[in-house]
Amino acid sequence: MLRTEEMLLNVGPQHPSTHGVLRLIVKIDGETIVDAEPVIGYLHRGTEKLAEDLNYTQIIPYTDRMDYLSAMTNNYAIVHATEQLMGLEIPERAEFLRVIVMELNRIASHLVWMGTYLLDIGAMSPFLYAFRDREQILNLFNELCGARITYNYMRVGGVKWDAPPGWIDKVGEFVQYMKKQMDEYHGLITGNEIFIQRTKGIGIYDRETAIQFGLSGANLRVTGVKWDLRKNQPYSIYERFDFDVPVGQTGDLYDKYLCRMQEIVESLKILEQAVEQFPEGGSTMGKVPRVLRVPEGEIYVGIESPRGELGCHIVSKGKDKPWRLKFRRPSFYNLQILPTLLKGENISNLVAILGGIDIVLGEVDC
C-alpha cells in the first residue's frame, strides 16, 4: 500500500493564469484539491483612502485603475453617485455618449475574458481573434478621449469630450462588423469538443449558493437569476433601450461562456439603438458649479459593470471632498466563492474555475 499525504501547493502571486497578482494556497491530496485559500492585497493602493483627500473630479482617474478592463463603467459609478447626491441633470447627448462608451467597454472586457479564458484552458488562437476585435474598440476610445485603457472620460455633469465628427458612424460600422464576428467565434469555440470537455458540468453551483455569496453579474445570472441592474434598477437612459438579460440553466463554466457571449450580442443591440437615436446637437456638460460641493448626505448606487454590481457608497459632509468613499467591487465578492468551488475538484480544473469567475485584481484589491 502506497503512503499518501496532503501537500501544500502555492499558486501565484506571479502566475499567468491568476490574471494579476493573486496568490492561492492550495492543499492537495494526490490530484484532488482539499482546500484552497486566496490571498489578496498585492495590488492594494488605498484608493478609498486617497479619495478622502481629493475632490470629486480628481477621484475619477483613480477609478480608471480599479477595473482596468472596463474603466468607463468605473468612471460612471463615481460620477453617477455624485450626480445623484447633488441632484444634477445630465444633457441627453452626454447620457448617450456614456451609454455608448460603457457598452463598448463591456464588449471589450468580455472579449478579453473570452480570449484569456480560452488561453487558460489551452487554446491559443481565440485570444488573437479576441484582441484583434478589441483593438477596434480601443481605437474608437483613442479617437474619442485620447486614451486606450485609462480614459478619465466622464465628469460630474457630463462627459469631457464630445464625439469627433464621424465617430458615431464608426461605432455603427463596428456594431455591424462585430455582429458578423460573433458567428466566427461560435464557429471557432462554441462547438469545440475540447472546450466542451473542459467546461461542461464543471464548477457548478446553484442559485441559493450564488445569492448567499453575494455574487453578481454573469456569475449570478448563470444560475438562472435574472438580475441585471440596467434592467432591475435602471440608471442613465437604459430604460429607453430594448435588450434582454441572458441567463444560464445549469450554472457550469460552459454556461458562463454562453452567457457572456450573449451579453456581447445584447450590448450590440443597445449600441445599435443608441447610434440610431443619437441626438444631433446639444451640450455634453450639464450646469455644474466650478467647485463641486456635494450636499451633506449619504448615497449608495450600484451599476452593472461587466463583472457584476459595481457599487459606490459616498458619505458627504458638504465639503468638496468625500468624507468616506467606498467601492463595492464585484470581483472582490465574486472571488469569495472560489474555495467552495475548488474543494473536491481535480487540480487540472483549478485554472478553469478561477478563470470562469472573471476577476480583475486591480478591482479586488482596490
Partner: protein, 253 residues
C-alpha cells in the same frame, strides 16, 4: 456686442472667482444662467486647468482686489437664498417609500422589541432608500429577523461599509431581497475606541471578506467571525488606514 467684448468680461469674472474661491460654488448657478452656459461650452474645448491659470495670470495685475470684493458681496446674499428654500420644501409630500419603511419597522418592532430601532427614515438624497438605525445590542437578533422573516427575507448582501464619524464608528449594510424585490439600508453604531460589532457572516457568507476588509481598514472587530485577520494590508501592518486619526508613514504621498 462683438465677440471680443463678450469674452472679456467673462474672463475677468473667472479671475474674480479664482480669487474668492470660497464663494464660487454658490455664486455660479444662480447668476446669469445664459451667460454661464456659453463660457462652459468654450471651456470644454480646451483643457480646463491651463485656461484657469491663464485667466488668473492675465487678470491679477489688471483687476486685483476690488473686483473680487465687489463680486463677493452679492454672492453672500445668494448663499442664503437656497438654504431658506430647502426648509420650505422639506415638509412637502412624503416619500413614496414611506409605507415600505413603516412595514419594516412594524415587523421588527413586533418581533425584536421596540427598543431595537433607534431611528427610521427614508434617505431622500440616496434614491429614497429606507434606512434603519439599529442598536448594536439588538443587531444579531434583528439581522436574523431580516434574513429569516417571511415578510422581510433579505437574502442578498449588496454592500457593507464602515464609516469613521470621529465621534463614533458605524457599519452600513445594504441588503436586498430577491423574494420581495425590496431593499434596505441598516446603520449600526459602535464605540470609536473599542469598536466591536456582531458578525453576520454566518447569515450571509457575502459579508465574510467584507467584514475582514472593514476590520483591516477601520479596526472594527467583528465578534464571532471565524477568520478575522487582515485582508488587504500586510499582516504585520500597524494601524488601520481609513481611521480619521491614522497617521500615514509618508505624509507627502
Amino acid at each position: 456686442m462683438t465677440e471680443k467684448e463678450k469674452r472679456d468680461p467673462a474672463s475677468s469674472e473667472e479671475a474674480g472667482e479664482t480669487l474668492s474661491a470660497d464663494n464660487r460654488a454658490q455664486d455660479v448657478s444662480p447668476k446669469q444662467p445664459g451667460k454661464r452656459e456659453e463660457t462652459d461650452r468654450t471651456d470644454s474645448d480646451r483643457p480646463q486647468s491651463s485656461q484657469k491659470q491663464e485667466a488668473a495670470r492675465e487678470a491679477t495685475p489688471k483687476t486685483p482686489r476690488p473686483a473680487a470684493a465687489g463680486r463677493a458681496r452679492p454672492a453672500a446674499g445668494a448663499r442664503n437664498r437656497p438654504a431658506v428654500k430647502k426648509e420650505e420644501e422639506k415638509p412637502l409630500e412624503p416619500s413614496p417609500l414611506e409605507p415600505v419603511l413603516n412595514r419594516f419597522v412594524e415587523i421588527i418592532k413586533e418581533k425584536a422589541g421596540a427598543e431595537a430601532i433607534e431611528e427610521a427614515y427614508v434617505n431622500r438624497a440616496g434614491r429614497h432608500l429606507p434606512v434603519l438605525v439599529i442598536k448594536r445590542e439588538s443587531w444579531p437578533s434583528v439581522a436574523g429577523l431580516l434574513k429569516e422573516d417571511p415578510g422581510l427575507s433579505f437574502d442578498y448582501v449588496r454592500n457593507l461599509s464602515g464609516v469613521d464619524y470621529e465621534t463614533h464608528m458605524e457599519v452600513v449594510y445594504h441588503l436586498y431581497s430577491f423574494a420581495h424585490s425590496h431593499q434596505i439600508g441598516i446603520r449600526v453604531k459602535t464605540d470609536r475606541e473599542e469598536s466591536r460589532m456582531p458578525s453576520v457572516q454566518h447569515l450571509w457568507k457575502a459579508a465574510d471578506w467584507n467584514e475582514r476588509e472593514i476590520y483591516d481598514l477601520l479596526g472594527i472587530r467583528f465578534e464571532g467571525h471565524p477568520n478575522l485577520k487582515r485582508i488587504l494590508m500586510p499582516d504585520d501592518w500597524v494601524g488601520h488606514p481609513l481611521r480619521k486619526d491614522y497617521e500615514p508613514l509618508d505624509k507627502e504621498v
